[in-house]
């Protein structure tokens, strides 16, 4: 049985989510599920979200390739179904370099990313989406709870109820963390880089997620002496979560490309774009901390030198 370190939401996390959505917290012993939340949340679409979604659709009209996005979405689902298999393989094999494991999972997502970048998709959505304010995060969480098509899509991709809740918590409970990721247009002139060298926020989120997953094969192979099963379990969940975020982004883009055949409301489109970005940001940072920043406490113990606690610091 493949292990996956899906975060277990604490009572505090669940209370925080319920509070964000303005619904009563779960009773003692009661599990908070997306379905329960849906029953409790006001289902009127958010007018601001609707307006943003409409503007985004109009702005991107005719630019996106529905056929490409549809095909790659299907391939992304296939790859998502392989994450357990990749985890079971453990460290990529190879004498002189790593075999392809994690890199294979993101091939279709890369094709989506390159298409979106080529048509100016990221600039188009950054122009209209607000930054990660608490209000925007709350609205996103509400819309996500209501968006049955998204819940169904994630279920089809292999996200069980607990995993879908974990993704929801990533979005809803991280406004402070997400606020560090400033939309490029909001970086004051002359800050950090010449701003022309800072890609749009949503491109940074998507590109970053892809780069982190792509780096895993080499990282795990090259640093095999440090890698524990726990690190591999973290890599599995963080990767799967990012693939979920990537899939949501592809879903949103495909919905825009589909025009009138799209299944998302304008408000849901806004929420999907925000949520996918949030999931990709949170989980790339989680992967970085769980799998790449291998501290002395986290490493597989060395057969030769023992652990740090054996060192005489005084």
């Amino acid at each position: 049985m493949v292990q996956s370190n899906v975060p277990q939401p604490t009572v505090e996390h669940r209370q925080e989510l319920a509070s964000t959505l303005g619904v009563g917290g779960p009773a003692t012993g009661e599990r908070l599920t997306v379905d329960r939340l849906r029953e409790a949340v006001d289902d009127d679409p958010d007018e601001v979200f609707t307006s943003i979604g409409e503007t985004i659709r109009t702005g991107l009209s005719g630019r996106l390739d529905a056929e490409l996005l549809g095909e790659e979405r299907s391939r992304m689902v296939e790859q998502l179904s392989r994450t357990s298999e990749v985890r079971a393989a453990g460290i990529p094999a190879g004498e002189t370099g790593p075999a392809v494991l994690y890199r294979g999972l993101v091939e279709p997502a890369w094709r989506v990313y390159h298409h979106l970048a080529a048509v100016g998709f990221f600039e188009g959505i950054e122009e209209n989406l607000p930054s990660f304010t608490p209000d925007h995060i709350e609205g996103t969480a509400r819309e996500l709870v209501q968006a049955r098509p998204l819940s169904a899509a994630l279920a089809e991709c292999g996200f069980d109820e607990r995993e879908r809740m974990a993704l929801m918590l990533n979005v809803a409970n991280n406004d402070t963390r997400l606020s560090r990721w400033t939309p490029t247009r909001e970086i004051p002139e002359g800050v950090e880089f010449d701003v022309e060298y800072v890609p749009p926020l949503h491109r940074r989120a998507m590109g970053g997620a892809l780069l982190w997953i792509r780096a895993l094969d080499d990282h795990l192979w090259r640093k095999e002496i440090l890698i524990t099963d726990d690190i591999l379990d973290d890599a599995h969940w963080d990767t799967k979560a990012m693939l979920g975020g990537l899939y949501l982004m592809a879903t949103a883009a495909h919905d825009v490309a589909a025009g009138e055949d799209g299944s998302l409301t304008d408000a849901q489109l806004t929420a999907t774009l925000t949520a996918s970005t949030a999931v990709m940001i949170v989980n790339q940072e989680e992967l970085m901390q769980d799998v790449f920043w291998i501290t002395e406490e986290k490493r597989k113990p060395s057969e030769a030198s023992g652990r740090e606690e054996e060192l005489p610091w005084q």
Binding site: G97, G207, A215, R222, L226, S305, G306
Partner: protein, 572 residues
Amino acid sequence: MAIEDDKAIRAASDTVVEETELGYQVFNAPDESVLHQTDTDRIPRYDVTQEMLDESGEDEESWLMFSKNYEAHRYTPCETITKDNVGELELEYTMEVGANSSMEGSPVIVPGDPPVMYQTNGPSHVKAIDPREGDVLWSYTFAAPDDAVLCCDDNNRGVAVWRDKIYLTTLDSGVQALNRYTGEEEWYASTADHEEGYSATWAPIVWKGMLFTGSAGGEFGVRGFHCAYNAETGEELWRLENCPEEEYVGESIEQSGGTNWMTATFDPERELLYYNVGNPSPDFNGTVRPGPNKNTCSTLCVDPHDGEIRWAHQESAHDIWDYDSASQRMIIRDLDIDHLDYTGDVVYNGGKTSWTYTMEPETGKLLVRGQPMTQQINMMTMVPHVEEERDYVMLPGLLGGHDWQPPTYCPETGLAYHKTLNTPHEIYWRNEEYKPGEKFWGGIVDVEPDEELVPDEYNGHISAIVAVDPATGKVEWRDWIDSDRYLWGGTMSTASGLLFAGTQNGDVIAYDGETGERLWEYDVSNKAVSGDPVSWYDPGAEKQYIAIQVGGSGFVGRGPRGDQLVVFSLSA
């Protein structure tokens, strides 16, 4: 001749290095480079051949490149000075070099009658010296422009020598070739535009007529590179951008950082270059440069013939603490790693992370990650945002661990010796205005945090000299060194099992390399010893000499400036 009569030394002395809002800048440098010849006829006329460079590690009489041999061991096979007689080591002379400037670096010694020492210091100043007498034979000061910006000081760490030339990197990101007999200029090449933030401070290396040099400016939003030049003509042969475009999101590659600001190491058997790669840009705000930021904070292995990357080993993925990989790599031959059943060559280095890394040379696979050389507290933790009104003190601080200080490897003891820092720094993140050629640190670092913020478990020792077994990663011994200054400069080992190092308190120490026992100490100055010891045997004088540069360096914890070259000797 008094140094004030030497117009090149005077030009260097008159140059003022000041910390400005942009970084360090040099002012009052000469408009044109200045050469002063005193006694050039004393320099023996013969080519430093490739064969000499290949065999430099085994040669007692020379120190022909920054770290003695291509493998960067900083180890002399000379055994005149031993554990038994090191107490008799005497001061031969001290010499004022005449600069109010950074005193990092390693003199180069070309053997002969007399030997010739090529000694450098900031700002882009070099001398030819008869080291028997302490006489300057010629001196040269490069005309450093005042719009060159430097993160940390106006360092120059030494020259490369080949045939009839020496090669000096210059603060404006150039390479200046000089005739080694006369000091006259042969060719100059600009490796990058200093107005964009590039600079150069390290010693290049030369192999088979190719000169290899890197890049600095990682705090100024540059894109790091390494490049090769025809050492005879100055023609550029290839240029490699250290960070691959496909590993960066969109235009963030344009200011990726990833410079390499120390001397490369070369494996003549495999014909491969290995070098350190620095921090990503901006230093602390990673959200504008998502992903692991390959190949920053890494060891890079490169084909010297075409500049193609063979492999990279990253020490700090998506670094947000300025843990650039700074020290020179070493190649250690035929190492037995018993617990892995491995016998073979390895590539080895210490990182700002405070870990040592032992790698397979053809793939870069990590064989051993050593024990931490210093304390690690709050390490590899997300940098708090300034608005969160929380901050933390981390160890290692932004200077490491193991910064640029060149280490040594002694085959007799089987140990590598590192100068390390154990300095707590406070760090948090903010947006900061960026202009081309200016610092754009997205974070704030306080190198003197309030005492109440320093974690209780900090042991209070600011620095240490540490011996590590590269086969196991074990810290075999450690000598904590207390001071209010930072420990810069390198180490050197000898065939008799001695380890030499200067300290920031102005001492030069000889250790028993096996045990860490101090066998000899000499108080040379109240200034910091920021240079690296080098040694040679002079058959004409029948003495083994040790030379080291004395004087502060760096942008923090430097102490007062000094400008001495100190030479010790012991008769055979």
